[in-house]
């Protein structure tokens, strides 16, 4: 990998060198490096469209890194990654995609991630998006995440997109069995003319299933954000979704939290708030010696932390 690819890898996966544990690094449409462990196997799909990741039942304290780097302008790819997470395992999965586009043509990576989470398995999934490069070609990421969660399993998803991605249409769908729990923490910042659409559809199908989908976002300049989150309660379950957005400059934000209860014991809550930075917050930080721009930066950094 060259220096640009290495830097992007650092941005999306925090990796300075090859990680410990299992990994698959994809660079410009090809597998650049792969490692498996005794408990985690990574297998290319026969038709070359992606990979299958098999985590053996009972695998604990292991991590899997599957970053994707695009540094060729004009590259468009659709990749299918399927995660088969065995019973009673407890693992961390770090995905992420970084695009460096200095050219005139659009670069696009559409990752379709499917998770099959078996009974009582526990995973933490981190996905970071990053774009850079001063070419006129757009940096486009359209991730689809599909999660099927068996009884008693739990998943925590951290979705972060702070810089440089021109266009994102993210769709996340989840079906939860009895006692399963899904927590989503999304952090998003858009600037320039960027467009980011984020949709969540969480179906709570089993008794005792629960979810908490929270998005915090900042929209600057002329950017547009749409947050569409729907929780459906089909059993005795609990669900909460929240969108908290800071709007700046000429940005536009649409928040559509939705709830559907199909069972009398489904307890569902949604919250949505959009507003500019409170003037008194800026004034307070100015009395501590920051100028207005520094105060704004502190407030946004804290908000997206």
């Amino acid at each position: 990998m060259d220096a640009i690819q290495k830097r992007i890898l650092m941005e999306v996966a925090g990796l300075e060198s090859t990680p410990h544990g299992a990994y698959n690094i994809r660079a410009n449409g090809k597998s650049a490096a792969r490692s498996t462990t005794a408990n985690i196997d990574i297998v290319s799909k026969e038709d070359g469209s992606g990979i299958d990741i098999y985590i053996k039942p009972g695998t604990v304290n292991e991590s899997i890194h599957i970053p994707v780097v695009l540094s060729e302008s004009g590259l468009k790819e659709v990749v299918y990654n399927d995660f088969h997470i065995g019973e009673n395992s407890d693992v961390v999965i770090v995905a992420g995609c970084g695009i460096h586009n200095c050219g005139e043509q659009d670069s696009e990576h559409d990752g379709i991630h499917r998770f099959f989470v078996e009974k009582n398995a526990k995973i933490k999934y981190v996905e970071k998006h990053y774009g850079e490069g001063d070419g006129r070609g757009k940096r486009i990421l359209n991730p689809v995440t599909e999660v099927t969660m068996a009884e008693g399993s739990s998943m925590e998803m951290e979705m972060v997109q702070i810089k440089g991605v021109d266009n994102t249409d993210r769709v996340t769908r989840a079906d939860l069995g009895a006692g399963a729990s899904l927590v989503v923490r999304e952090r998003l910042m858009t600037h320039g003319d960027q467009v980011a659409i984020s949709s969540y559809f969480v179906n709570l199908n089993g008794e005792g299933a629960s979810t908490d989908v929270v998005s915090r976002s900042v929209a600057r300049d002329n950017s547009y954000q749409k947050f569409d989150s729907k929780i459906t309660g089909n059993a005795a379950c609990t669900g909460h979704t929240e969108c908290d957005a800071i709007i700046m400059d000429d940005a536009k934000i649409l928040a559509i939290p939705q709830l559907e209860a199909n069972n009398i014991d489904a307890a569902l809550i949604h919250e949505a708030a959009i507003g500019k930075i409170a003037g008194e917050q800026i004034i307070k930080l100015m009395t501590l010696g920051l100028n207005e721009a520094e105060a704004e930066e502190q407030i946004i950094n804290g908000f997206l932390k």
Binding site: A278, I283, K284, L285, T287, L288
Partner: protein
């Protein structure tokens, strides 16, 4: 030394301008502990905001240690040595107590140093240092953190707008001790406190009574305090709590 020269402040009213501060001139000497009291709506908080630069005067000027800061921004005044503790502390999402103290001190404050400021205001530091400065903290806790940020700044002039508002009796006693320690730690440090509290008036070097936007009285504690006792400008702590309904 803080000097206000013919300071006036007016806001647009329905028919004519409404003057909140009316041609005030006063001098607060270096190292003095001055309490500004007076009836509600008399212009006390506005005066504090004019000093901090949050409001701009309609006319007149404000000087700190011989430098004119009338046209200076809030940030510039902060750098010149003005600290200001808000009456209603501002809440943030995601900014932690240690972040605020680090910004206030203007340096890479160690956890130990940050904890020292919190201990000073009676908060068990380890429990608070990484808490977000948001609605999960009680009014009294926010107020004490607000005071800790002023301590962390360590500037030549500190202005506190009703520091006792919203805190309980226990921390009221500690608050007085905080002020006393601030005075003894640095004799050049000028402290201005807006308060009705008899116990705070009791430790003042000077008392200023503000009413209707005018200075009604300005003198030493010995001169002014006897004229105030029993009025709304010098309330005993228990009296105020009873009045507020939270005994």
């Amino acid at each position: 030394m803080l000097e206000l020269k013919h300071l006036s402040f007016a806001v647009p009213g329905e028919s004519a301008e409404k003057e909140i501060i009316h041609d005030i001139s006063l001098t607060v000497g270096k190292g003095k502990f001055v309490v500004i009291t007076g009836p509600n709506g008399g212009g006390k908080s506005t005066l504090a905001k004019l000093i901090a630069g949050i409001e701009k005067p309609t006319s007149g000027s404000i000087w700190l240690d011989g430098a004119d800061m009338t046209e200076k921004s809030i940030t510039e005044r902060a750098h010149m040595g003005v600290s200001y503790a808000f009456q209603a502390p501002v809440k943030f999402k995601g900014i932690c107590v240690i972040d605020l103290l680090r910004i206030a001190s203007g340096k890479k404050l160690s956890v130990g140093d940050a904890c020292a400021y919190l201990s000073e205001v009676g908060l068990c530091a380890r429990d608070y240092i990484n808490r977000e400065v948001n609605g999960s903290l009680s009014g009294g806790e926010l107020k004490r953190i607000e005071i800790a940020t002023v301590l962390a700044r360590g500037t030549v002039l500190s202005v506190f707008d009703e520091p006792e508002a919203g805190i309980d009796l226990w921390s009221f006693k500690s608050l007085i001790e905080v002020f006393e320690r601030m005075r003894s730690a640095n004799s050049d440090r000028t402290i201005i406190v807006i308060s009705h509290q008899e116990r705070i008036l009791n430790i003042a070097d000077e008392i200023i009574v503000l009413g209707g936007g005018n200075i009604l009285a300005h003198g030493t504690r010995e001169e002014v305090l006897p004229t105030l006792l029993g009025t709304s400008s010098a309330v005993s702590a228990c009296g105020q709590l009873t009045k507020g309904g939270e005994k």
